[in-house]
């Protein structure tokens, strides 16, 4: 084995090693998407965000148009404040509504945007006025039981 063939093999090794890193970064990770695109931020306030996480997708009509950048808590209104970064290519009317939805029965939660009809578009730093909180399963079950109990009471009263 002469020196030059060793150099060649080491060169091949380093090249495919770096290639594997690049493959991990581009194909497996998400370096390509959303890192270069220009974005603008809007704010949405929810009474309850359920299990929404930072970096959760923001979708409109099922298409990812942005991500949740930050989640905070307003200690005066006792509301959750979600900062969304939206892709600058997509403009939404000012009366767009935001809902917290769940993908599938056990899937992760995301924010769904439904476009309104206002002629003026949302600008950077503005707030989405119409929001709908996450559906919390415990509350739903609680409501179901109260309404069942109420029905039972009515039935007894009728007798």
């Amino acid at each position: 084995m002469t020196r030059s063939t060793i150099d060649l093999w080491v060169g091949v090794f380093v090249a495919i090693g770096l290639g594997a890193l690049l493959f991990l970064a581009l194909k497996v990770g998400n370096l390509a998407s959303f890192s270069t695109a220009e974005t603008y931020r809007v704010e949405a306030r929810f009474a309850n965000i359920g299990g929404l996480k930072v970096r959760a997708p923001v979708k409109s009509a099922g298409v990812v148009v942005g991500r949740v950048a930050e989640i905070g808590f307003d200690n005066e209104a006792y509301e959750a404040v979600a900062e969304l970064t939206l892709d600058a290519r997509f403009k939404f009317p000012r009366d767009t509504s935001a809902k917290i939805l769940t993908s599938g029965l056990l899937g992760e939660q995301y924010i769904g945007l439904e476009a309104g009809a206002d002629a003026r578009m949302l600008a950077d730093g503005e707030r989405l006025r119409l929001t709908q909180s996450a559906v919390v399963l415990e509350n739903l079950i609680g409501q179901f039981f109260t309404s069942k109990a109420a029905e039972g009471g009515e039935a007894k009263g009728a007798k």
Partner: protein
């Protein structure tokens, strides 16, 4: 009783002594690494022995680990009707944990043991003393290139292991079982973060590279210069590096992945 205590005390003292010597050796090695970079051909030769010759075992193991992950992951995920998440499962477990750790363990047994045996045998046959006689520093000439060769090879091998494993998972999940290809890749890309997951995996593999290479060269350099001594040093390299990798992995995982979510 007294004899047992004396024995225990002597063992602890010897261990601490060795630890201190290893730390001083590491400092000396870093200070005398200039030759390894000035005469880079020496390091390239060691990258060939530690890295290129480990390629086969790393690639084949990566492929099989990924294929097993694909089968096992699919079996569990399809019970919950979410077999599309297979890509996420395979990619995250490989990039975060299995890639660096299994590649590190394989690297320790394939390359680390060879480095220890080589340096130990050079010591046993008095080649290192002969170098010192010729005013050649054996740490700079023999140890440093092997150390840096291992440090450079390890992250590349871990990345190759992960990439190959993901390909194995793809092969079993998409080609063999028939999970939707688009969902496999897109869910993977949505869930794997470049900084949080991939960069942390690379940092792990770099740390393991340092640990394994240091243990390998130190055990070789510190070996008792006999046939038996070299064989014991080689065994110790594999045992100590494996334990070091697993312990360091726990510490690094605790540091990296507990704060964020």
């Amino acid at each position: 009783m007294r004899a047992a205590l004396t024995h225990l005390g002597a063992a602890v003292t010897a261990g601490v002594w060795r630890l201190g010597y290893a730390a001083r050796f590491f400092g000396y090695l870093l200070a005398h690494s200039g030759t390894a970079f000035r005469r880079f051909g020496l390091t390239v030769r060691e990258i060939y022995f530690a890295g290129v010759l480990s390629l086969i075992i790393i690639l084949v193991s990566g492929l099989f680990v990924g294929m097993v992950l694909g089968l096992q992951g699919y079996d569990t995920l399809q019970r919950y009707g979410s077999s599309e998440a297979l890509g996420v499962l395979v990619a995250l477990s490989l990039v975060r944990e299995l890639g660096p750790v299994v590649a590190g363990l394989l690297f320790a047994s394939r390359a680390g043991s060879a480095i220890t045996a080589e340096i130990g045998l050079m010591k046993a046959t008095e080649q290192l003393s002969a170098m010192e006689m010729m005013a050649v520093d054996p740490v700079a000439r023999v140890v440093a290139p092997r150390f840096w060769g291992g440090v450079i090879s390890m992250p590349l091998l871990a990345a190759l292991f992960s990439a190959m494993g993901i390909f194995g998972g793809y092969l079993v999940g998409v080609v063999l079982i028939g999970v939707d290809e688009g969902a496999f890749w897109s869910q993977m890309q949505a869930a794997v973060d470049v900084r949080e997951d991939i960069l942390n995996g690379v940092i792990k593999s770099v740390v393991f590279g340092f640990a394994v290479s240091l243990i390998a060269v130190f055990e070789g350099f510190d070996a008792t210069p006999t046939a038996e001594g070299v064989s014991r040093a080689t065994t110790r390299t594999v045992v100590t590096s494996s334990l070091a990798i697993l312990a360091l992995d726990f510490v690094l995982t605790a540091l990296m992945f507990t704060g964020g979510n």
